[in-house]
Each structure stands twice: as structure tokens, then as C-alpha cells.
């Protein structure tokens, strides 16, 4: 599909960042199971289906020395249990028309189940989901096979300049911090992962007290309680893991260049951003919409693409995490324009605040507040939001609170927040390609 602009990346991030809802009707209920798992629930009776997501504080920030361990553990959950083998598990979900998937990032490992809410289907799907999460087995043969597929993927990363740029960014910005390495690990570290490592990681982190269970669908509160209870009962009670070490800032600004035989140079600029729950988040979010988060009409898009034709896609975003995630600017341009494009980015950062005025702020507010219903118009989106709210411990009225805060912001507050964060921390510039 040829699209006017590739929004996949930015939308993905927006999906995680935008977290609001204008409909007072969306009511989040929350409680704890007897095992201590946190539950988030929204009743959505319109369609005969349910979505469930279980998030564990078991992302790659918990890898320790064995980078890739969290991702490999998550990937192998669903490949064997005490009583079922790999094909039996696949067939078990598929013959019900249910969908099981898993993914690990830096903060969390997430497991999703989508199925029809009809009782016979739901009960079977849920029983298997609970077994897969609670009675996971790590078969050494499957580990060997998945490791070699994993290594092939890691090898292929070396031919993907965008991925190289991103890995380099995190590594440089985060230094010794557990956020510094990619969740994929490296070829060297993935080689060292053993069956016993997976088992130990699983036992340590896949526990009820380390889980947030989210449910959206055609269920009443009683049914949701039973489902959550059943799932949590399948997990050991466990304890919460220790807090991650604090993020240290990069000491000095840096510009890194990595030669790569591509016709474009892939440019990323980044600095330390903010964490989830930061009091400046709403103001920064609004400011970034004007800067490079809002797609067409944003300052970066106007300067880089619309005025100069330098790039197809250019964007910026904050990625708030458990701890401060980065603030990132990205674009790709032909090698001969790389230097010019970087200058335009520098200049845009420099002049941005002066472009903000009451009218521009009102445009952004109209966009964000008017667009709330769109962010919450499906069960799939809703389950992602409530899982995020539960996992990061945000208040239950977050979806109502966020747009109210947007509405209240003054121009001065937006400018102050931007100035407080952007440009204060050292900026990292990464270029991968053959910039001229």
C-alpha cells in the first residue's frame, strides 16, 4: 500500500501515549484477586467477544546479563505445558477460533487472548490460556530451534539501518542501565541462554502479585471476577520485583555516525524524556503534538517535508516508561541531504517555542479533545489502554482526567514544560548511512 505517509510507527506510539476518552460511559473497574493480582475491567456488551491481556513486570529490563532472556521466555510460553505439547496448544486455541499472542518489551511481557464470549468457547479458551501461563514448560529442543530462528533475525538486523540506528540510540543514551540493550538481546547473549535460565526467570517473574489482568468484553462483573480469579489461581503468588536502578543522563551531547551502504541516511535524535505519571506529561504531550507528534501540520513536518521535500516521514515522540523513556526525533533522507536535514531539525528545535501561540495551542487542544472518541472506539484499543493504566499504576479516572488537563493548560504552562525538559538534557544524534 502506498500511503501518503507511513504512520505505522507514529501511530503505534500514539497508541501507547494517548490515553484518554471522552465517553463518561467507559467505566473502568478494578480490584485484586485473592492471589494479589490487579484486575482492570470494562464491560462492553455490544459484541459477543472478549479480549484479555495479562501484563507481567517481566520485560527486558529484567534480563540481567542474559540479554534477550525476557523475550525468549515470553516467546516460549505457549510452546509446552505440563500436559500439552506445542501442536496441541496451537490446535487448542485455533480450533476455537481464539487468538493467543505474546510480546515482551523493556518494561513488560504481555499475553493476549481474544475469543468469542459464548460460554462453551470462553471456558475452553480460558482454561488453556491459564494453563499456558501458569504451567509453562521449557522444552530444550524447542529452545534450540527458536534460538536459531532468533539468531537469524538478529543477523538480519545488520541489514536494517533503521533498526541499527535505534539500537545505537538506546545503547548510547542509557549506558549501563537495563534499558540500554534491545529486548531482542545480541547474538552473543542469546547464545548463552539455557533452559534453566528460562525456568528461573519464569518462576521469578510470572507470578500473581507481578501481574495485571485486563478484561474488555461481553461479560458482567461476576463473570470477570471469576475469570480473573481462575487465571490468578494458576499462578504462584510470588512477590513484586525490586525497583529498577535510576536512569542517569548521558554526560555530553554526542553525534554518532555509522557507515551503512544505503541510499538514505537514517537519522535519530534523542534525549532523556520522562516517565509515566510525570506531572509535566500532559503539557509535554501537547507541545510535542505541535512540534512533531501531530503528523501533517506539525512544525517538523512543515519544515522538513512540506517546505523542503527532504523526507517522506519525520516525527517526534515521548515514550514514557516505568522510568524516563527517551524523547526521540526521527527521519530518513537521501545521503546528500543528511546534513541539511539535521540542520533543519536543529533549527526547528531552536525556533519551535517561538512558533507557539494561543491559536496554535487551541488547534492542538481541539484536535486532542475532539479526537478522544476515536482513540477508544474498539475493544482492542480499550484493552490496551486499561492494561497500560493498570500496569503503570495510573488513576482509574485517567481517561477522563487527561482531556480535562489538556483543556486547562495555558500557553505559558506548555512552553515552560517544553523548556524545562527539551534542550536541558544532552542531545544524542545518530546517523546511519553514508551522509554527505
Amino acid at each position: 500500500m502506498m500511503q501518503r505517509v507511513q504512520l505505522q510507527l507514529t501511530l503505534l506510539f500514539l497508541g501507547c501515549l494517548l490515553s484518554f476518552q471522552s465517553l463518561a460511559a467507559v467505566k473502568i473497574q478494578s480490584w485484586q484477586t485473592s492471589q494479589g493480582a490487579k484486575v482492570m475491567f470494562v464491560a462492553a456488551p455490544e459484541l459477543p467477544m472478549m479480549d484479555m491481556r495479562v501484563a507481567f513486570d517481566a520485560g527486558s529490563a529484567r534480563d540481567g546479563e542474559k540479554w534477550g532472556l525476557a523475550s525468549m521466555t515470553a516467546a516460549l510460553i505457549g510452546s509446552a505445558t505440563a500436559t500439552r505439547n506445542e501442536n496441541q496448544i496451537s490446535d487448542g486455541f485455533n480450533r476455537l477460533g481464539s487468538e493467543f499472542s505474546q510480546q515482551a518489551g523493556r518494561d513488560s511481557a504481555d499475553f493476549s487472548l481474544r475469543c468469542l464470549s459464548r460460554e462453551d468457547i470462553r471456558k475452553q479458551a480460558l482454561a488453556q490460556f491459564s494453563e499456558v501461563l501458569g504451567k509453562a514448560r521449557f522444552d530444550d529442543k524447542i529452545l534450540q530451534r527458536e534460538r536459531s530462528r532468533w539468531l537469524a533475525m538478529l543477523k538480519q538486523k545488520n541489514s536494517q539501518p533503521q533498526v541499527l540506528a535505534s539500537d545505537l540510540l538506546w545503547k548510547t543514551l542509557y549506558g549501563d542501565h537495563p534499558y540500554a540493550h534491545s529486548s531482542d538481546g545480541t547474538m552473543q547473549t542469546v547464545e548463552t541462554i539455557k533452559q534453566a535460565d528460562l525456568q528461573a526467570f519464569y518462576q521469578r517473574y510470572y507470578t500473581a502479585s507481578n501481574a495485571v489482568i485486563s478484561l474488555v468484553g461481553d461479560l458482567d462483573r461476576k463473570q470477570a471476577e471469576r475469570i480473573a480469579e481462575q487465571l490468578a489461581q494458576a499462578l504462584p503468588q510470588g512477590t513484586k520485583p525490586k525497583a529498577l536502578p535510576p536512569v542517569e543522563e548521558m554526560k555530553n551531547p554526542q553525534t554518532l555516525m555509522r557507515e551503512f551502504p544505503s541510499t538514505q541516511t537514517y537519522i535519530l535524535n534523542a534525549q532523556k524524556g520522562i516517565k509515566r505519571g510525570d506531572p509535566d506529561y500532559v503539557a509535554l504531550f501537547v507541545a510535542n503534538e505541535a512540534f512533531g507528534g501531530g503528523g501533517f501540520g506539525s512544525y517538523l513536518m512543515d519544515e522538513v517535508r512540506e517546505k523542503r521535500g527532504l523526507a517522506y516521514s519525520v516525527y517526534s515522540y515521548f515514550a514514557p516508561m516505568k522510568l524516563a523513556g527517551p524523547f526521540t526525533i526521527g527521519l530518513s533522507t537521501k545521503n546528500a541531504s543528511a546534513k541539511q536535514a539535521q540542520e533543519v531539525v536543529d533549527h526547528s528545535l531552536h525556533t519551535f517555542v517561538a512558533t507557539l501561540n494561543e491559536e496554535r495551542l487551541q488547534e492542538i487542544k481541539d484536535n486532542l479533545i475532539g479526537g478522544f472518541p476515536l482513540r477508544m472506539d474498539s475493544n482492542a484499543k480499550l484493552v490496551a489502554y486499561i492494561s497500560m493504566i493498570g500496569f503503570y499504576g495510573l488513576p482509574l479516572d485517567y481517561l477522563q482526567w487527561f482531556p480535562q488537563q489538556v483543556e486547562k493548560l495555558s500557553l505559558q504552562q506548555v512552553i515552560d514544560a517544553w523548556k524545562k525538559h527539551i534542550g536541558k538534557s544532552p542531545m544524542l544524534r545518530v546517523m546511519v548511512g553514508e551522509p554527505k
Binding site: 500500500m1 502506498m2 500511503q3 501518503r4 505517509v5 504512520l7 465517553l23 455490544e46 459484541l47 506445542e86 496451537s90 490446535d91 485455533n94 480450533r95 476455537l96 477460533g97 481464539s98 475469543c115 468469542l116 530451534r145 536459531s148 530462528r149 537469524a152 533475525m153 543477523k155 541489514s159 551531547p253 553525534t255 554518532l256 551503512f260 544505503s262 541510499t263 538514505q264 503528523g295 523542503r308 527532504l310 523526507a311 517522506y312 516521514s313 530518513s332 533522507t333 537521501k334 536543529d346 528545535l349 531552536h350 488547534e363 481541539d366 484536535n367 486532542l368 479533545i369 475532539g370 479526537g371 472518541p373 476515536l374 472506539d377 474498539s378 482492542a380 534542550g423 544532552p426 542531545m427
Partner: protein, 465 residues
């Protein structure tokens, strides 16, 4: 769709078809109209959220383009945001943003689509804007020059720096000789460099008219109200005389076609394609029934992680790092059943090619099990429900069917037709269409360049200013 980019992004229309049935037949109000000026209108009410999806689909895309100006439909799509008599360049997007809307556009081989998703109170506003640029676009030389640069950057990003995209373009060009499926949606680079402003103006004049378009509205709306608005805003647009696209039926393939190329990749990549019919290209009822059998065959090969590719090639043989198959039964002109794989280390592309044909041989020799068929049908039926969770997805399905000239009740009949397919029919299409001597094979091999070392040079160290 998604043709020009890597097939890895491929989203089969089949999946959409499969998913639409339930919502469209039983549960929601679906209506179809045609205005006097020829504009087709499809409205589906969905009252779950106070949101509306508004789309205009033009029946033009890369399949309509002659050599020399390939990619021009996509270029025109970019230029549609550059202003009308009433709007300045970029103003369209800014106005929709101010409404809190999402908006974008995309081009495929068969159609070009513009869409907005807005709060329902803004339906009239986006309709006014979209109707304005249907006939009143201003094409300016300076904007055109800048946007050509943007599209060229897009081409570098999508194609030139991705060996697998280049392989796929070469593969398609080899598989299709006289069909316009031969050329990529983004166009050949030489054509991208050579479009003139006049080319663009006449392309716009020729295809952007109400009688070559479909309006799709899905959301929290009242159908009569939508129809009244459409009459008011799109009604005055003047019809053009639109030529039918020539059939350009792909000539029968006479023998195997094969390409081996090297590129800046670390892993090899293999593509195998065979020509198969689609609902549009099928010549009779019997061949249409074969299309349903081919769809199920595709699902059995690669519908889920119980499929043959996962169980046999990935898990049992360990011959591939990844593999997938692709078939779109709603293509307008013609279609390829395509198999794609990344061989595991220790397996050559030729070896994986052999494994693919062994898998096909088994499907030719023995009917698939009832259990496997039931599993695939259970998923298809569940997907009907899941699909209703997305208004955008529902609108996409409706618009794509109308745009390739398939009736909307294709969806209603889809599940029924799938249910009629027997294991013997699946076996029969496997025998009829999968012939290694009529296949197109493309192989990408690493060019041997070592990945650059992970060390970076530090060019400069200076503060942010």
C-alpha cells in the same frame, strides 16, 4: 493492496472478506445508493461509539497506468492535499486535525482511497472538504516539484534500501508480462523522474469524477441523513466519460521463470508464485468455486500456527526461519498464489523450494483432513465477529469490493460458499494450479558484504543550540 511495499505487510482482502460477513448480513444496517451523477454510496450504521469513518474510493491505481507514467496515481494521491480553489496547500489536513480527526490516503493497484475518521458531528464538514477536491484540485508546479522529491524519498525508503522489496518488484515484473500487475504501485524510478504537471492534470481530469468513485460511510450515523448530505455535497459534481479498463488478461505462462539476485541482506529470501483465478477473473461458476477452494488452501497452508508451514517447515523440518503464503481472491485483473520463505542456515533456497513442492505434492495426493478444515472454518466464523470491532476495517472491506466491481453480497455468500468446499475440491485446485513448470521463482542471496563493525566514529561533540 499493499502491493508496492513488501508483501510482509500484506493484508489479504480475503481476511477482510471473511471477517465482514456477520456484521453485514445479520446485525447492522447496510445500504447502497447511486446518485444521478453516478457516485456510488455505501452506508453502514454502527452505533458503538460516536465516531464516523468517511472514505472516497476512486477506481484508479497502478493497474490503470500505461508505461512511461507508472506511479502517477500514487503521485496524484500526494498532490490531493495541495489545495483547491478554496483551500491552501496543507489546509485540508489542518482543518481535519482541528476537528480531532484522523485522515490519510493510500493507493493500490486497483484503487486510490481518501479517508477521515471524525466525531460524528463533523461528517458534514469532511464531506464538504472531500467533495471540493473531487473536481477542484489546483495543481501547482512548485508544489509538484517538492512533492516529487518527497515521493522519491519514499521510493528510496520503501524500495531502494530494502533488498526484499526489490526482489518482490522483480518477481512481480517477471510473473506478469502483459498485465499491468507487472509494474509497481510506486512506479519505476525513471517514470517517477519523468512525470510532467500536464500528465498529472490529465490523470486527475480523467479519473476523478463522481461516476468513477464510491463514497463509504460507516459509523454512528442515520442512513437517510448521510444520503441527504451526500446529495448536497457530491450531487453537484459533474460526471466524466470514464473508459473501462481494458482486460489485459495475462497470457498463459509457458514455462518456469527464474531470477536470482544478490543484495545487501544477511539472509536469503525465496519467492514462488503460480497464477490462479480470482472472483473477478473467474470465467464461470465452476472456476468461482475454485476460488473458494484456493482460499481455504491458503488458510490451511498459512492461516495460523497450526498451519502446514508452521507445523512442517518451521517446527518439524526446521528448514525455514519464517515462511508465509499469500492469495487475494478479490483482485480485479489477476492474482498470484505466492509463497515466501527465509531458509534456515544449512538449507539452501533451492532446498526450501524442493520442500515447498513436496508439501504441495502431499496436498495433491491426499485430501486434507476434516479436522483441519473445521479448524479453519471455526476461525473464519469467529473472525466475522472480531471484524466488527473495527469500523475502519469494515469500511475498507466494503469500499474494496465495490471498487473492483464485486457485489456487496459477495460477503453474505462468502461463508456459505466456503462451507460448500470439500477436501476433494481443495485437492483438485492443488493439482490444477500448482505446477513447478508454470511457476515463477525469485531468490535473493546475500551479496557477501560483511556487516559494518559496531564501532562508531564520533564526528563532533557539541551542544544543542
Amino acid at each position: 493492496m499493499f502491493k508496492a511495499s513488501s508483501r510482509k505487510f500484506a493484508l489479504s482482502i480475503f481476511a477482510m472478506l471473511a471477517c465482514g460477513f456477520f456484521s453485514l448480513s445479520a446485525q447492522a444496517k447496510l445500504s447502497e445508493f447511486t446518485l444521478q451523477n453516478g457516485l456510488k454510496i455505501v452506508v453502514k450504521e454502527d452505533h458503538r461509539a460516536p465516531v464516523v469513518v468517511h472514505q472516497v474510493w476512486y477506481r484508479v491505481g497502478s493497474n490503470y497506468e500505461p508505461n512511461g507514467i507508472t506511479g502517477i496515481s500514487h503521485m496524484l494521491e500526494h498532490m490531493m492535499f495541495k489545495g483547491t480553489a478554496k483551500l491552501k496547500p496543507g489546509e485540508f489536513s489542518k482543518l481535519v486535525a482541528r476537528m480531532g480527526g484522523e485522515e490519510n490516503a493510500f493507493t493500490t493497484n486497483d484503487y486510490t482511497v481518501y479517508y477521515q475518521v471524525v466525531g460524528k458531528q463533523h461528517l458534514e464538514d469532511v464531506m464538504r472538504l472531500e467533495a471540493d477536491r473531487m473536481r477542484n484540485l489546483q495543481l501547482d508546479a512548485k508544489e509538484f516539484a517538492t512533492e516529487r522529491q518527497v515521493v522519491t524519498e519514499e521510493w528510496r525508503w520503501r524500495v531502494q534500501d530494502r533488498p526484499e522489496s526489490k526482489l518482490y518488484q522483480a518477481f512481480k515484473a517477471m510473473a506478469f508480462v502483459n498485465s499491468p500487475e507487472h509494474h509497481p504501485v510506486i512506479g519505476w524510478k525513471s517514470d517517477i523522474d519523468s512525470w510532467s504537471l500536464d500528465d498529472l492534470k490529465s490523470w486527475y481530469q480523467r479519473w476523478y469524477a463522481p461516476n468513477n468513485a464510491t463514497l463509504v460511510v460507516v459509523g454512528d450515523v442515520d442512513t437517510d441523513h448521510v444520503l441527504n448530505l451526500a446529495k448536497r455535497y457530491y450531487g453537484p459534481a459533474k460526471a466524466e466519460s470514464i473508459e473501462e479498463l481494458k482486460p489485459q488478461v495475462e497470457q498463459a505462462q509457458l514455462g518456469e521463470r527464474r531470477l536470482k539476485m544478490k543484495g545487501a541482506t544477511q539472509l536469503p529470501n525465496l519467492l514462488i508464485g503460480v497464477h490462479v483465478p480470482t472472483l473477478k477473473s473467474a470465467e464461470n461458476a465452476q472456476q468461482r468455486q475454485e476460488v473458494y477452494a484456493l482460499s481455504l488452501l491458503n488458510d490451511l497452508i498459512d492461516g495460523d500456527d497450526s498451519s502446514i508451514l508452521t507445523k512442517e517447515l518451521v517446527r518439524k523440518q526446521k528448514s525455514v526461519v519464517s515462511a508465509s503464503s499469500y492469495y487475494d481472491p478479490t483482485e480485479k485483473l489477476s492474482s498470484l498464489f505466492t509463497f515466501e520463505a527465509t531458509p534456515s542456515s544449512g538449507f539452501s533456497s533451492e532446498e526450501v523450494e524442493k520442500r515447498f513442492w513436496e508439501m504441495i505434492k502431499q496436498l495433491q495426493d491426499k485430501p486434507v483432513s476434516e479436522a483441519a478444515l473445521q479448524r479453519v472454518m471455526a476461525q473464519t466464523e469467529a473472525n466475522y465477529v472480531y471484524r466488527q470491532d473495527s469500523m475502519r476495517g469494515q469500511a475498507m472491506l466494503l469500499g474494496s469490493l465495490v471498487s473492483v466491481g464485486l457485489p456487496l453480497d459477495t460477503i453474505d455468500h462468502w461463508l456459505l460458499n466456503l462451507r460448500k468446499v470439500t477436501p476433494q475440491q481443495i485437492q483438485a485446485v492443488a493439482k490444477k494450479y500448482f505446477d513447478p513448470e508454470k511457476a515463477t521463482v525469485a531468490i535473493l542471496l546475500p551479496n557477501g558484504e560483511k556487516p559494518t563493525s559496531a564501532q562508531q566514529m564520533s564526528l563532533q561533540t557539541k551542544g544543542v543550540h
